[in-house]
């Protein structure tokens, strides 16, 4: 007996069984059978044809007119067969694309992500989650020989693969000018020039760049149209906005970026983020910046890394596990 006969016999026995007692048990078996058919890539018109041929054996005296109706149904199912076979083919293309993107995303990770450095007296938390496999967000820590640590957060307007290609340019450019690292304004001015020259005019990049000098507990920073972060003043127990003035990268040939400075006292925090954090959209509307602050406050007794992890966890659930934008949140806290 070949596969086809076996299938026929199996289907016949399940169907006969069902005709005798109409039990849920048999329907369950039927569904498992159909699952197997799908596994074996049997198309829906074949499934219907199988049903019809079994039927004709079980009911030998079906009137011809009724039989004709089955032919018609079969004809109808051919269209579904198209869709079904296209599905098979799409899925294999999809699997290939996904695995390519997986590899590219790993390359991106290796290329972009700097390890969280170990800075004495500074508690650091950082999380970055792409909305899709490849991220258009970027964060990077660099620590120099004086223990100064620079931190960059960038967001390409746009997502997915094009944004990721663009991101790798930022990385090459930043690597090629290490001497500027200490001057946040100059770093952004240089990047602006490169982005303006090389990137498609309707692709923009926002960036926040900061430098922490642990010798004087000072944080120097500048921003290019990036979502403002927060400063947490531990003594006053208050959050303030970390405002920066400066145009998005890539818009104008020559732009200058103002540099700011804050001194951190014990337990003060600098909170940097991408708009994927503040523009989370839940079923009840956008999340307000206030709500982000409230969440951070809720976990303020935890370590910086635990805070960012918990905030992500909570926002992920609020969005029903579908991020609409890349999500990056970095917290620096001066330890007491």
């Amino acid at each position: 007996m070949d596969d086809r006969d076996l299938q026929y016999q199996k289907y016949k026995s399940i169907l006969e069984n069902y005709l005798q007692e109409q039990s849920e048990q048999t329907l369950y078996k039927g569904q498992q059978f159909s699952r197997k058919m799908i596994e074996q890539k049997i198309s829906p018109e074949e499934a219907v044809s199988l049903h019809v041929s079994v039927l004709e054996e079980l009911f030998p005296d079906i009137p011809q007119r009724l039989k004709n109706s089955y032919d018609f149904l079969l004809e109808m199912m051919i269209g579904y067969g198209f869709a079904y076979r296209e599905h098979q083919s799409l899925r294999s293309r999809q699997q290939q694309l996904e695995s390519e993107i997986e590899i590219a995303a790993n390359m991106q990770q290796t290329l972009l992500a700097g390890d969280k450095p170990d800075v004495k007296g500074l508690d650091i938390g950082a999380i970055s989650k792409p909305a899709q496999k490849m991220s258009g967000d970027y964060y990077h820590f660099v620590q120099d020989e004086n223990n100064c640590m620079s931190v960059a957060i960038a967001d390409v307007i746009g997502k997915g693969i094009p944004a990721a290609l663009c991101m790798s340019m930022i990385k090459y450019t930043m690597d090629s000018a290490p001497e500027q690292r200490m001057q946040p304004g100059a770093v952004l001015e240089n990047l602006n020039r490169v982005v303006e020259q090389n990137v498609d005019p309707n692709m923009f990049i926002t960036m926040f760049y900061g430098l922490y000098d642990p010798r004087v507990h000072s944080f120097y920073y500048a921003g290019a149209g990036h979502e403002p972060g927060f400063f947490y003043d531990a003594e006053k127990d208050e959050f303030e906005e970390l405002y920066t003035k400066g145009l998005v990268l890539g818009v104008s040939k020559k732009t200058s970026y103002q540099e700011y400075q804050r001194v951190l006292y014990g337990n003060d925090m600098v909170i940097m983020l991408s708009d994927g954090v503040t523009e989370c959209r839940s079923s009840s509307g956008f999340i307000e910046r206030d709500e982000i602050v409230a969440m951070i406050r809720k976990y303020i007794h935890l370590s910086a890394q635990e805070i960012v992890d918990e905030v992500y966890r909570e926002l992920e659930r609020l969005q029903e596990f579908e991020l609409r934008d890349d999500f990056t949140l970095v917290i620096l806290r001066r330890e007491v």
């Binding site: 849920e24 369950y28 699952r35 799908i38 899925r91 999809q94 699997q95 596990f321 579908e322 991020l323």
Partner: protein, 133 residues
């Protein structure tokens, strides 16, 4: 009227039991044949997941009302290993490939509402509603 049922799932027989009570309730609530079959399939998949991945758990089915709308709610819960990466599990594309059944995205598409809550090593609760049209 308060139709409801709760089936403990420990073996394949219980999957059938859960399906049966789901189908009965769906019929009583007035769902058509196709929707009855869909609801039953959703229950089947959720119960099967419990049986396969958590070992045991329960599937509760009840009638719900919201602003005049009538619906059927499935709640599948277990104290199994939990789902580590929910985003991954809800991703599309490969669920029907291995004959693994509909998977959660498939169940979500069969029903109208779908929420999932899971914590590693604590368990999973999936709630799903189909509204009567």
């Amino acid at each position: 009227m308060n139709i409801q049922s709760c089936v403990e799932v420990r073996n394949e027989w219980d999957i059938v039991k859960a399906r049966q009570s789901g189908r009965n309730i769906a019929k009583e609530l007035g769902f058509g044949t196709v929707d009855q079959a869909r609801i039953t399939t959703a229950i089947s998949e959720l119960a099967r997941n419990i049986y396969l991945y958590a070992g045991s758990g329960e599937v509760a089915i009840e009638r719900v009302e919201n602003g005049g709308k009538l619906g059927l709610k499935i709640e599948a819960s277990d104290s199994g290993p939990g789902i580590k990466d929910i985003r991954k599990v809800m991703e599309d594309g490969f669920t029907t490939s291995g004959g693994l059944g509909a998977g959660l995205p498939g169940v979500k598409r069969l029903m109208d509402e779908f929420t999932i809550d899971s914590k590693e090593n604590e368990g999973t609760i999936i709630t799903s509603i189909k509204w009567l049209r």
